[in-house]
């Protein structure tokens, strides 16, 4: 609340922005209001949860690949989870629940929105910081206790939540059905707290993008990463409160005896599903849109070419943002809701395939006739396009309601969601982390180890998740502790083994990324201002940028992807570079 001499806490003004930062270590790096530091704080927190989510996946894969066998290092787990290192069924249900919960809420979402939303928005629009730096700080420091609450569930009696990350009622609200009580309650409280953090972040991002763009940064000159973060922030703003409301009702059913979702006194189990998925579908677009936006930035950079069809790309982002509200029922085709509703959701779901397809074609169009540099971010971004395509195409099977009868709640769905969330979002995150690492830390990550990590990840990733399509087509259900209980699944158990072994190798490969990340922070080659020869405003300031970002307000003269422009000799042309009188800033185009 009190201002500090020499430091402006809220910079809503133009004029001199960079100035000496004379604050203490704690004010600068712990309770920081600088969007760049907050972005890095989210990065560290999210990477830790990504690792944890991966560890949980390893235990799941151990049990699925080698059912009821003692797990290596399993002895460290308590008797309530894995006596003698053999995973218990109740622990297995918690594992699948917490893997999903950690990955969706504490890894992918904060990586895309908390890290890159925070880091990129002010820099790429030419602002000194967010509109509300102190609220930004609060957003991170509220997420931290949410994380601790979610971790705490492993240590309570009854174990952690075990009703799936989707927490369907009545299983999630009755401890007599699930065997879990405190764990489910902590799950609810943690997500309510995290929701507050997300909502605080979202209105900050929206206000900043609307009101603080540098002169010349017209709406249709915003990089696609910013367009996608803008629409994502709107989705977060409007969808998270629905989840909060639903979880509050679930929590009240669990604790004070209300009857929202329990049928005994007129409550409706399906109501939980409608509320959850009304949030949940926009949520999956929250999990992919920023990835798409950043991939666009990186592909244009790698191809040295303007994004193909920039305006359509913007319209596709907007289209996905709007249409995404009307498809939630496609998660509920088998739920018992009126079949006619199923038909209407099927139609809306088919339609939303179109804007995603547009984006894939336009990424291809960007690479076409380019002069492609295969730097590590570009490798990951290209992988993003190819893997997201598979994920998107597999979605068509489940959108077709009759086929969904067969594949719903099987491993076909698990394959689909991992192709879009890992093949899509996570590859884009690897691309983005590598790409913006020099700006964040002033050092380059090792390109050699970056390539090793990329190739091994790509290979093992596909070995893990592609066969899951086949498992699902065979009828292999989701969330089952021991597939060998079923005769019809015994023939495909070798596929489970293959997947598990590949998964262990995939996880081990991530240690390369982690090591590269940590070691480069201290020993990486010093990064120049613009190592990728990119056009974004963030590359016109030092690596890392000073507090306040820009010495003076940048002026923007052109669209974001003017690569290989005929008006200059270099193959890139930053948005704020002023050209001599009479030279066009960009080619006139639609």
């Amino acid at each position: 609340m009190a201002t500090t001499i020499g430091h402006v806490d809220e910079v809503t003004l133009g004029g001199a922005e960079v100035h000496a930062d004379t604050r203490s270590f704690v004010r600068k790096y712990v309770f920081s209001t600088d969007h760049k530091i907050i972005g890095i704080q989210f990065l560290i927190m999210s990477l830790i949860f990504l690792l944890l989510g991966g560890v949980l996946a390893m235990v799941i894969r151990w049990q699925l690949g080698f059912p009821k066998q003692p797990m290596p290092l399993g002895g460290v787990l308590p008797e309530t989870m894995a006596p003698g290192g053999v995973v218990l069924p109740e622990f297995y249900n918690s594992l699948v629940t917490m893997h999903g919960t950690f990955m969706v809420f504490f890894a992918i979402m904060p990586l895309l929105v908390g890290v890159f939303g925070n880091y990129l928005i002010p820099l790429k629009i030419g602002a000194p910081d967010m509109a509300f730096p102190r609220i930004n700080m609060a957003s991170f420091w509220i997420a931290v206790p949410a994380g601790f609450l979610m971790l705490a569930g492993f240590f309570v009696e009854g174990g952690h939540a075990a009703a799936g990350w989707t927490s369907y009622a009545p299983l999630s609200e009755r401890s007599d059905l699930s065997g879990v009580s405190m764990g489910q309650i902590l799950w609810c409280i943690s997500l309510i707290v995290l929701g507050l953090s997300s909502i605080l972040g979202s209105f900050n991002y929206i206000t900043t993008i609307i009101n603080m763009r540098a002169p010349g940064m017209w709406w249709f000159r915003l990089p696609l990463s910013i367009w996608s973060l803008f629409v994502t922030a709107i989705l977060v703003l409007l969808a998270m409160p629905i989840l909060s409301g639903a979880i509050i009702m679930l929590l009240f059913d669990q604790t004070i005896g209300t009857h929202f979702f329990g049928p005994a006194q007129g409550g409706q189990p399906l109501l939980w599903q409608h509320l959850f998925w009304f949030f949940g579908h926009p949520e999956v677009y929250i999990l992919i849109l920023p990835a798409m936006g950043m991939a666009s930035d990186i592909i244009a950079n790698g191809a040295r070419k303007p994004v193909f069809g920039y305006t359509s790309m913007v319209l596709a982002i907007l289209g996905i943002g709007v249409l995404g509200w009307g498809v939630w029922g496609h998660h509920m085709f088998m739920s018992g809701m009126n079949p006619t509703l199923g038909t209407s959701f099927m139609i809306s779901t088919m339609l939303i395939a179109v804007p995603s397809a547009i984006k894939v074609f336009n990424w291809l169009g960007t690479m076409w006739m380019g002069n492609i540099r295969f730097h590590v971010p570009m490798l990951h971004a290209i992988a993003f396009v190819s893997m997201f395509t598979i994920g998107g195409l597999s979605g068509i099977f489940m959108a077709a309601t009759p086929v969904d009868i067969y594949i719903h709640d099987t491993y076909f769905i698990v394959a689909h969601l991992h192709y879009v969330l890992f093949g899509g979002s996570l590859f884009a995150i690897f691309a983005a982390v590598t790409f913006w690492y020099p700006k964040m830390f002033g050092r380059m990550m090792s390109p050699f180890w970056g390539r090793v990590h990329f190739f091994l990840t790509f290979i093992f990733y596909n070995l893990v998740f592609f066969p899951m399509h086949n498992l699902g087509l065979h009828g292999h259900m989701r969330r089952i502790y021991d597939p060998t209980q079923y005769d019809f699944l015994k023939p495909v158990q070798p596929i489970n083994e293959l997947i598990s072994i590949s998964a262990f190798l995939l996880f081990a490969t991530q240690l390369i990324f982690a090591t590269n990340f940590i070691v480069s922070w201290f020993k990486g080659a010093k990064a120049p201002e613009n190592p990728w020869e990119d056009n974004g405003l963030e590359w016109t300031v030092p690596s890392p940028p000073p507090h306040g970002n820009f010495v003076s307000v940048p002026h923007v003269y052109r669209a974001p992807y003017e690569y290989s422009s005929p008006f200059v000799t270099e193959d890139f042309l930053p948005q704020n570079r002023e050209l001599p009188e009479g030279v066009p800033s960009a080619a006139p185009h639609s």
Binding site: I372, T389, F397, T401, G475, M477, R479
Partner: protein
Amino acid sequence: MSWLLPHGASTFVGEIDWLYYLILWITGIAFVLVEVLLVWFMIRYRARPGRKATYYHGNTRFEIIWTSVTAVVVVIIGVLSAGRWNRIKGRDMVPPNATPIVIHAKQFEWLVTYPGADGALGSADDFQVRSQLHLVVGQPVSVLLTSEDAIHSFFIPAFRIKQDAVPGMNIRVWFQPTEVGEYELGCAELCGLGHYRMRATVTVHSREDFDRWARDRAALSVNK
């Protein structure tokens, strides 16, 4: 590792499998097209000294063409799906001669109530069996699906049927087996500790074999 569906044995197999293979062809072609173009562009347009990218912002006509093609394709798939969906799940599509059965899902078993010799439920000759579904080949069966506790899901892969069982709701699902044999039923919705072993056997009999089984069973089991 096959993209073929396993052998199916109900009247729905024709509808569902056909649609699946159609979508497999369409998405397969799209997949090959995108990935081949991607790899080709990576090779053809890789950076080499002295090269420059073409300064090109897009082509609205191409965009309109491929957007329209995509939209038409997905609409066609949608139309083909809608009729099939209605024939399978439509609430008024249950064949009038279907044998009525009640299946009450509970943690972690399936309680199946058969109508007995009079073919009507709710009468004195009904009998109940745990986790065994016995059917007559070629005879449609109309299941009233209920749940005791959590949400379960009634899934017989070989018949291509799935339906969630929701406590507080009475949901109808019907199907018609086409081949004599032994099949399996699994629960396809996480329902607690024993979800993974909520299994039932499904036996499709000839009419005579079923009648014999039903007679023997009715004599043994306790009436509701």
